[in-house]
Amino acid sequence: MEVTTQQIYQKLSQLSNPQLNLGLLSSLDKKLGKTPNDLGLLTLQLELFQKAGMLTEAFTSQQKIAELSGKFVSDEITSAAQQLSPVTKYFNVGKIDPNNFSAAPLVLIDDFLSPNLVSELLTHTIEHEHKFRMANVGSDNPHYVPDKRLTHVCFDLGKFKAHFRDFIKKNINNFTILLDVPHFNFDKSEIKITNHLNGGFFQPHADNTAIYGDSKRVISWLYYFHQTPKAFEGGELLAFNSNIEQQEYYTHKFTKIEPINNRFVAFPSCFYHAVTPTLLTDNQFSNGRMAVAGHIRFN
């Protein structure tokens, strides 16, 4: 890993530290006790929840801010979320300002697959360990760069390829509504299984240079799964507040998505994101931080 990347991760580790964010939230609670409807303080509370990966609390906080500001969630958004899943959470809808730093719109679905399917997917992945190789970086001229990324990848998903592909295709419209992406002609969804073993990471990057940039990727998505009890630490996805036009991102403003078993997450590909280093003491393939990962492409 490059020294600069190590320094970034060190900073990100501090900023997403639960002890720090819970401490600051506690300090903020005292102020909110005096002025419970202060929109500035509530917005900061939402940011701290997002940085701490406390997404249930963030979702509630976001709804309170919307109600207090009179910006009620539209029927279209509610319906899109419901069609994806009854437990869909969505963040930062309608907040993209291409010329400014914006929080990444996110769709989050916990308990995505039935327990049987999760178990089958885990078994499939472990049985196909021999088909995994080190992942490349870059969509135009893919190449292996261990300083930027350490991910094992496999393109054989068996029956799960159709399962995920069909879900994505059926819900393109819902994703565009919830992720603030203009309608587009669907081409296909790239799809693969990844596994992060000890030291696995993916440094901050964006999967496209604009909403409709050259890589053709519009929406990036991940489905996390792993052995239970979990054998690894880290491997969190950080989705950074990004300036799409300038292709820049804030390292101190982000949403942390923990790789919880059976969790699906999607976001616009042009938003910068990173995967924090995984700590896996026994470094067993079967105990890794696994994900099905995909990119929805436009035509």
């Binding site: 900023l15 530290n17 002890q19 720090l20 819970l22 401490g23 600051l24 506690s26 300090s27 903020l28 102020k31 500035g40 303080l41 900061l44 940011e47 101190h252 403003k253």
Partner: protein
């Protein structure tokens, strides 16, 4: 008194727009306005603790001299330097 220039007689208190907490024995401040963070070392943490109530800089220095092995002049200068940083970040109020 000119609020832009701190001296030993300045009376300091915490601003409203700041959050604080302790992580692994180190204090961290966060500006509510900018969202910026400041990590405090032991001496800076002691200063921040002192100004939970309004205090003059000279009083803060006196208390620090009782806690840290430091010369008077150095302590005065370092305290003023740190308070100047906090003032620039609008994290303190100066009476």
């Amino acid at each position: 008194m000119n609020n832009n220039i701190l001296n030993l007689n300045s009376v300091i208190s915490r601003a409203e727009n700041v959050l604080d907490c302790t992580v692994d024995n180190e204090m961290v401040l966060m500006s509510v306005t900018s969202g910026d963070y400041i990590n405090l070392n032991a001496q800076a943490s002691a200063i921040w603790s002192e100004i939970s109530e309004s205090q003059s800089v000279s009083m803060i220095v006196e208390k620090l001299l009782g806690q840290f092995e430091v010369e008077l002049e150095a302590c005065q200068q370092q305290t003023l330097d740190f308070l100047n940083v906090l003032q620039q970040e609008k994290l303190i109020e100066v009476a």
